[in-house]
Subunit: 411 residues, 2 copies
Amino acid sequence: MPIVVQKFGGTSVANAEKIKRAAQRAINAFKEGNQVVVVASARGKQTDELVADALELNSNPPKREMDMLLSTGEQQTVSLMAMALDSMGHKAISFTGTQIRMMTDGAHSKARIISIDADRIHEKLDSDHIVIVAGFQGMDDHDDITTLGRGGSDTSAVALAAALNAKVCEIYTDVDGIYTTDPRLYKKAAKMDQISYDEMLELASLGAGVMHSRAVEFGKKYEVNIHVRSSLTNDPGTLITEEVPKMEGILVSGATIQKELAKITLVSIDNTPGNAAKVFSHIAKAHVSVNDIIQVEINAEKANLSFTLAKSDLIDAKKAIEEIKEEVHCESVFVRDDIAEVSVVGVGMRSHCGVADTMFHALSEAKVNIDSITTSEIRISCIVDKDHGEKALIAVCDAFELDKPIDKRSN
Amino acid sequence: MPIVVQKFGGTSVANAEKIKRAAQRAINAFKEGNQVVVVASARGKQTDELVADALELNSNPPKREMDMLLSTGEQQTVSLMAMALDSMGHKAISFTGTQIRMMTDGAHSKARIISIDADRIHEKLDSDHIVIVAGFQGMDDHDDITTLGRGGSDTSAVALAAALNAKVCEIYTDVDGIYTTDPRLYKKAAKMDQISYDEMLELASLGAGVMHSRAVEFGKKYEVNIHVRSSLTNDPGTLITEEVPKMEGILVSGATIQKELAKITLVSIDNTPGNAAKVFSHIAKAHVSVNDIIQVEINAEKANLSFTLAKSDLIDAKKAIEEIKEEVHCESVFVRDDIAEVSVVGVGMRSHCGVADTMFHALSEAKVNIDSITTSEIRISCIVDKDHGEKALIAVCDAFELDKPIDKRSN
């Protein structure tokens, strides 16, 4: 029998009524002839409340204990969901991460999944149970409880779908799918029927915020069909999947903006092999993660080295740069924290030119100055003044017709 | 190094301030040269809240899922306690019942402890950690989470003290020890310095309410010194231990009253071997637990059979009796739900007479009519009209000088 994994986020299980609604969805999928595994997050704002309880006792709580604490939120939801299913006349059983041997490494608060013991789940599915698994949590090889970090329940669900060879992993959320861009910033944004893993990864890491990139990476690695859809309606949402033929003609799938960004430039460093590596390995030691790197040669001996990073990492990064700047003969350091990055993403870019041209033209028409440009195989990003960010996004969306579903566009 | 187990109930860990106070107690015991294991209950009214959440979804929640839900309360407390200890500069680690292999049978909501893996606890104690264990919970051999029922955290603590061969198991509570009787009913009640397991068992099962009888049974079986004391002061409380010589002269240690009691009499049943067994095995099948049994012969063929039971079981019991009454040729059934049972308890009764006499005399002086009397080796109970219950208790307490500590009494 085909297996469906359904994941419900915190807002979709926030109270008894919503838990029942989620349970009803699971029953519907079961009645359609599927075996059903539900993955649930902590209810509503519960994780936030537990974090507040912890901080009241310890401003820097040990991560192992924090995982121990936070994992209770999901455990409560899954047992309540099993009770709801039981009262609706359906066999159900809940499991913690420990109980299904969701083995992870020992990196508390951001653990990575290593393996899952699917046997106990299959056994219960085969005896007509709906199986409910606590998202976000696993255990390491010391029997300690771990958590998977932000968006962890999505990752749990996709990992389970992979381990169970599920036909689809449905992610129920409070939006009805993935949009070409953030509808709060571009009201005309269109919902996408499907999107490739690679595009979604660019969108997720650029701040689209609907799904965490680790879950998408997992989906890509194990070829899990991920269906992002609304918990409030029965309408189909957006399918995240391999590239499909009809997508090939499309140059740009979506656009994003990142606002909480900073940029550091090391002016006139020695342009010798290994110098950039020195800078970035030193920054990595400070646990600062770098977004994009731009190096521009000034002459044969000297270059300007810039990189973007989350604004929240700026203090740590500046400190690290101060420590290394003499070693790489940097003349001065220039920091901007008043920038935004506008990006367009699309697998079609791989085999087409003209996207950059369209984007620059649109920004120029909108009188937006471009600070710098970075590209990947399926993405073009422009750094602009923060004050011009939203204007820039709208201009780019209009230029690429992101107000229309993919099959209605002229490009 | 000696090991001390400290158990903190829900009211003693209800908020951040109280958790810190409990943590400080653990640190103090550590600084006095002990290895320290803390057992904690769920915070404040949290268990009640979780039960309410469950009942909102299912009026008769599956017990396995209820255990899964309720066990989160203790898990939250222990992780928060570990964070508190960490912030106070002390090494600490929390464990769930699962993590220390607190193995139980599979009787969800009232599981019995089978074994504990003390190795992981010893390992952490030996590296100077204060170890914090979630009370009330265990796991069965299906890896399912179980709970130990009412008073379960006391049982967890005493069982751990036994498994670790601790010198004492300290039960911190909101009263400062065990009293000769309920101070709310007899204002002059005196605190006892010590009491034997057997006496405490009679007092606990008769409704003294300070400690659950299963914890005391465990303590008796493994000879654990149990120290019931206040979480608000440093004064010593009451030590529950083996009989000690100085207690031998004392006839009566304490007195109790049970008000939520009913009594059923089967009038004139056949007085043949096995007839009473038939009645009580049928009642047991209805999950009604019987307190005391009184059988009185009417003649060679007939007897009256009475038993007392919790008033909450009365409906089930009456139904069971209706089913069996013809089989045992019972003439009629007589039910009283307006009774109270007043008892005196004391190991000294074993080798002394005169206690019953003193008790009956006191009740007679107080003009309390005695419905019936039952005794055990260390207890005498009188069933009286409920309206006379408190008056009877006070008369008995005065007669046995229960307003004085044991060594100040004249008897």
